[in-house]
């Protein structure tokens, strides 16, 4: 597959293309090998340089990178024996949400996530990962199954937002999201969510009222898209980078503000270049969190979750 480069990756692109043109030669001389080695070193240095100085909006661009691993990739890499379950039993099956039973090492769990496509055709099919109400209602069904059959719930967040469309409104988008929240607030099993790409407002929140919430280093989570915020508060879409900064939507900002429980680091170059170490770290985080959460009895688990969400917010008290 052809690599897609972001606007701030021009130097990286140049080096990577030089490497592949040398490595692709029919006859590689020792001198070529030497050159490749030097270029690879340069590439590492450049990746480190670029990826350790990312602006908030550049992270948003990485989070949206078409080649970034999707929920389905995480499911395939981390779990075994995934059995997908379809449909909300009310209206239909939303392809923007994937869910089903899976095994994590030896632990049986329920997995739910937003699902974007890998290319344009797939994205159109999956509505770019923007769920309709039936997606949230399918998720509710699976959450209830998880509760009844004592399966920990793991969710993956990767959506630009809940779909703003006529059908979505007619079928009660707001109600579908609110009911997910209500269900998750006292679900009697351990719950963990991982933000892997885009955390688009209420559409992402619907799957993240959990015991633990982690974000991949270059994932973002925001009350509104930077573009939407720029249009409203700056009156022009081009101010999105300013909005991204003001909204404090990166994993680092959110951890500092106490809004998430941890960051899953990505190698310099991002999860789209090096997905394997990211899958591995995600799996470790899931296992260690589940290990902690499974020690708690149901009541303590729910109480702790409710206390965690109860203290969200910053204000002062006085007269």
């Amino acid at each position: 597959m052809r690599k897609i480069y972001l606007s701030f990756e021009s130097k990286i692109k140049k080096i990577e293309e030089e490497i592949s043109s040398l490595a692709g030669k029919s006859k590689i001389t020792p001198e070529d090998e030497k050159k490749i080695l030097i270029l690879k070193n340069n590439l590492q240095a450049e990746l480190k340089k670029v990826y350790s100085n990312l602006s908030p909006f550049q992270r948003v661009e990485i989070a949206r990178h078409p080649q970034r691993p999707k929920t389905i990739d995480f499911i395939q890499a981390i779990f075994s024996d995934f059995v997908e379950l379809h449909g909300d039993r009310l209206f239909g099956d939303d392809p923007a949400v994937i869910g089903g039973l899976a095994t994590l090492e030896k632990l049986k769990v329920m997995v739910i996530g937003h699902l974007k496509g890998k290319d344009t055709r797939e994205n159109i099919e999956r509505n770019f990962g923007m769920p309709h109400p039936e997606g949230y209602r399918k998720a509710q069904r699976l959450m209830k199954l998880a509760a009844r059959f004592n399966l920990p719930l793991i969710t993956f967040l990767d959506t630009p937002g809940a779909y703003p469309g006529v059908g979505a409104e007619e079928r009660g988008q707001a109600w579908a999201i609110a009911e997910c929240l209500a269900l998750m607030s006292d679900l009697p099993v351990p719950t963990i969510s991982i933000g892997i790409g885009e955390g688009g407002s209420g559409g992402a929140l619907a799957f993240s009222l959990t015991d633990r919430l982690y974000l991949l280093e270059n994932a973002y989570y925001s009350v509104i898209t930077p573009e939407g915020c720029a249009v409203i508060l700056w009156k022009e879409k081009s101010k999105a980078p300013l909005a991204a900064e003001a909204l404090k939507l990166t994993s680092y900002d959110l951890l500092e503000l106490g809004l998430i429980d941890g960051i899953i680091s990505e190698p310099p170059g991002g999860a789209h270049r090096f997905p394997e170490p990211v899958y591995e770290k995600t799996k470790e985080v899931l296992l260690s969190s589940l290990n902690e959460l499974l020690k708690l009895d149901r009541e303590t688990l729910i109480t702790k979750r409710q206390e965690k969400w109860r203290q969200m917010g910053v204000f002062t008290e006085g007269d």
């Binding site: 809940a162 779909y163 703003p164 469309g165 006529v166 979505a168 409104e169 007619e170 079928r171 009660g172 988008q173 707001a174 109600w175 999201i177 609110a178 009911e179 929240l181 209500a182 607030s185 006292d186 407002s201 209420g202 929140l205 993240s208 009222l209 989570y221 925001s222 009350v223 509104i224 939407g228 915020c229 409203i232 508060l233 700056w234 009156k235 300013l242 909005a243 003001a246 909204l247 404090k248 939507l249 959110l254 503000l257 809004l259 409710q306 969400w309 109860r310 969200m312 917010g313 910053v314 204000f315 002062t316 008290e317 006085g318 007269d319």
Partner: protein, 271 residues
């Protein structure tokens, strides 16, 4: 006036013109009619005080949680800084936040109450609004009171970033605990009720009433038009449309709201 056209506010003067049907009205007559145009029935925006006067028993309302003050956790910078915006909204509305919470009586029934004011940063929910709603659920749970909320909100407040979004989770968690008590919670959706407030504690009410023609939804109509690239059907996202699609129990004009609410609470408490 642009605002008048939208039907959100009414200019001063002896006579006024309805921004919707353009009929000239006597200001006094209009006010006596709870700011509903007697000609076309459009429900104009009410202040919290006017809502209280319209719905509650005389002098029964006692405000609670007034000690909560808005902070600026992100030091949000844009064309207008957040703290200035809050200050301006305070001056404009005479309120300290977008929701007023407290206790009061309706037909002799003691209720826990919340009234939103759209004039305060679009009735948006930041940390203080979320905290007030949460405390109200907790107060009502402890004192075994039914709840009435009058909603008018554009959703989560951008200027507090993820703190605002997480108020949705916080309020729903408190609501879920409250609902274990089998106490009724009734919401009245007014123009507009959209975004994160609709997608959290508001739409989880046991009974949802709405004012005629009120805009109700998750996404705003502009966003939907931009995303889908198509014009929206007439009457889309109105209270009547929502009732037709099964998301609102009853559309109730202002003149009947008090009586309807008394009846509802009477049924739910007495059953």
């Amino acid at each position: 006036m642009k605002e008048e056209k939208k039907g959100f506010s009414v200019p001063d003067g002896l006579f006024i013109r309805c921004g919707v049907c353009k009929t000239i009205l006597f200001r006094k007559e209009f006010e006596k009619n709870f700011k509903v145009c007697p000609h076309c029935g459009f429900h104009y925006r009410l202040s919290v005080k006017e809502r209280i006067d319209l719905l509650l028993d005389n002098n029964s309302f006692q405000e609670k949680f007034t000690e909560l003050r808005t902070a600026d956790p992100l030091s949000f910078r844009c064309l207008k800084n957040y703290s200035e915006l809050v200050e301006k909204s305070e001056q404009k509305t005479g309120l300290r936040e977008a929701v007023v919470t407290g206790e009061g009586k309706l037909g002799g029934i003691s209720l826990a109450l919340a009234f939103f004011d759209f004039g305060f940063i679009g009735g948006s929910m930041g940390s203080v609004v979320g905290e007030k709603i949460t405390r109200l659920f907790e107060l009502a749970e402890a004192s075994k009171k039914p709840i009435l909320m009058v909603i008018a909100s554009g959703g989560a407040r951008m200027q507090e970033g993820m703190f605002s979004l997480f108020q949705m989770a916080k309020t729903v968690t408190a609501l879920k605990k409250y609902q274990r008590r089998n106490l009724p919670y009734v919401a009245l959706f007014t123009n507009p009720t959209t975004g994160g407030v609709t997608a959290s504690f508001a739409s989880l009410a046991d009974i949802i009433l709405a004012e005629p023609q009120a805009l109700i939804g998750f996404a705003g109509p502009k966003v939907i038009e931009q995303t889908t690239g198509s014009r929206l059907p007439k009457g889309f996202q109105t209270a009547e449309f929502l009732m037709k699609h099964g998301f609102v129990d009853l559309v109730v004009p202002r003149s009947e709201q008090r009586d309807t609410l008394i009846k509802l609470f009477d049924y739910l408490i007495g059953g």
